[in-house]
């Protein structure tokens, strides 16, 4: 048998990442190619594995709270909310109403910040450089609100088990309102820049199609599921932290392609502004911390709490053995589950489409690897 030469072989295996700029960190995708066409993909993850879940077993409940911020660092506040809600359910306490409303405001600001990072980087990947500067300009306003509120910009550690550590600073409401008033016209501007743009539309339509049945089979949640036409949002389906009091809509798409996901996320930013405005009108007075003992010793038991993070369903499963440290903390990260669908979406596409598909999943590798 003659040795096959390079020219004879039609299949080519190519490593994309972990240093590839469009893999949003350290994702390595092994591509099997026939020319430009993708025959199959395989994700290699774990480059950013820090053992966050194991760290949780060696820390007390309060001590572990800063670490969950470092899983999905783009949406640190949502992570903190999910963890605090889980421990609060384990302890059978509930945050006071004032704390709940402030939590809603901060997490919705965080959703906007996360979507802005997604919008900037995703469009940058597929050729539109300008939106990145504009989205980060708006994100800077959110970061300033966080810095004034809790003293940190990215990994905020804003919430504590049982409520909040910090009282609102003077001018918080005004800052938020100014941001909302400034931000809504800016979303229209992004749409003017991008939505009708023929290059972007051509790069996005019918790329990475994932229909509703596949989404459910893969466990895909968040904007990806909604873009496929499934009206599923945990804020409506199983309201937490008082979300049932707010009036907002769940944007859905039709085709489940990259363009629909783009439209869904743009609309979600507007809905978040709506929720923030409603919440600002009804910040009640009262305490910000529930009665939680200094040493948290939950009863023996296990609990699963999931919230609607910007990227999808973020779940915390905590097993308590009655001591001050959790017996097991399992994090169900939305990026990790959504990333599974990459192979399904990328098969038959071109290499340049893989870049668009990785962008549209909106992964954060800190969360995928934990």
């Amino acid at each position: 048998m003659a040795d096959s030469t390079f020219l004879d072989s039609t299949e080519l295996v190519l490593n994309m990442g972990p240093q590839h700029p469009s893999t949003h960190g350290v994702l390595r995708v092994i591509l099997k190619l026939d020319g430009e066409k993708v025959l199959g993909t395989e994700c290699v993850i774990g480059y950013l594995h820090r053992g966050v879940e194991k760290i949780g077993e060696n820390r007390t409940y309060q001590m572990f709270a800063p670490y969950v911020d470092r899983t999905d660092y783009v949406a640190a506040v949502s992570n903190g909310l999910g963890y605090c809600l889980a421990v609060e359910k384990l302890l059978n306490v509930e945050a006071p109403p004032r704390a709940q409303v402030v939590r809603v405001i901060l997490t919705e600001l965080n959703r906007i910040a996360s979507h802005l990072v997604w919008l900037g980087t995703h469009c940058l990947d597929i050729g539109a450089i300008t939106p990145l500067f504009y989205t980060f300009r708006e994100r800077e306003m959110i970061m300033n609100i966080y810095e004034k509120y809790c003293g940190a910009r990215l990994t905020t550690h804003a919430f504590r088990i049982g409520g909040l550590q910090y009282e609102l600073y003077d001018g918080f409401e005004q800052d938020c309102r100014e941001f909302c008033d400034w931000f809504l016209p800016r979303v229209d501007e992004y749409e003017q820049l991008l939505t009708g743009n023929r290059i972007l539309v051509a790069r996005m339509t019918n790329v990475g199609v994932l229909n509703a049945a596949d989404c459910k089979a893969y466990g895909v949640t968040g904007p990806m599921l909604r873009a496929a036409g499934v009206k599923w949002d945990l804020r409506k389906a199983q309201p937490y932290s008082g979300y049932e009091q707010y009036d907002f809509e769940i944007p859905t798409g039709v085709n489940g392609d990259t363009y629909d996901r783009y439209l869904v996320r743009m609309e979600e930013m507007r809905q978040s502004v709506r929720i923030i405005r409603q919440a600002l009108d009804r910040i009640p007075d009262g305490p910000i911390m529930a009665k939680v003992p200094k040493v948290i010793k939950p009863p023996v038991g296990e609990v699963y709490v999931s919230i609607e993070a910007p990227k999808g369903e973020l779940g915390y499963f905590i097993v308590s053995d009655g001591s001050t440290q959790p017996y097991r903390v399992r994090i169900r990260p939305p990026s990790f589950v959504n990333l599974q669908a990459l192979d399904k979406m990328a098969r038959g596409a071109l290499v340049a489409d893989v870049v668009a598909i990785i962008g549209t999943i909106d992964i954060v590798l800190g969360e995928v690897d934990r």
């Binding site: 800063p66 300008t130 504009y134 300033n144 003293g151 940190a152 600073y169 820049l193 991008l194 743009n197």
Partner: protein
């Protein structure tokens, strides 16, 4: 027909470019001129740690209770204390704070019962060596001294 004309005259691209050119105006510049201009740091910013002294007597406020060391998730605080035989009270001798491992979560300053340990607005923590990132009591009381550059 309208759609076709929009395509031919590149209306969608021109609309996008209009946004770009609108922001060429100098009033939209957001660049910060650090280090020539100091950035505004929020009052609650969690930066370099500081061990506070009493403003009048100059004695340390720390009562060496070790609560900050117990609250720290990274175990980076070491409090050394000695019992004073005359007053029968614990007195602080050494205080070590490893800023290289610190994630500035603020749990130590929350735990401090006398507001002795505080995270301040100083943010210039760079050091030429790993040992330089481990702060002793003197450095914690005096604060970091970043180099001032002239332009």
């Amino acid at each position: 027909m309208r759609k076709l004309l929009r395509r031919i005259f590149l209306i969608d691209l021109i609309e996008g470019l209009a946004v770009t050119f609108r922001y060429q105006h100098p009033k939209y510049i957001t660049t910060e001129q650090y280090p020539a201009e100091r950035p505004k740091i929020a009052e609650r910013y969690r930066g370099a740690p500081r061990l506070n002294n009493h403003p009048e007597t100059g004695e340390t406020l720390c009562i060496a209770c070790n609560l900050c060391a117990l609250a720290c998730p990274e175990n980076l605080i070491v409090v050394g204390s000695e019992r004073n035989e005359q007053t029968r009270r614990k007195e602080l001798t050494t205080f070590t704070y490893d800023t290289s491992r610190c994630m500035f979560c603020g749990l130590c300053e929350d735990a401090c019962p006398v507001d002795a340990l505080e995270l301040t607005q100083d943010f210039e923590l760079a050091s030429y060596s790993r040992e330089g990132a481990i702060w002793d009591r003197q450095m914690l009381e005096e604060g970091p001294r970043p180099a001032r550059y002239k332009y």
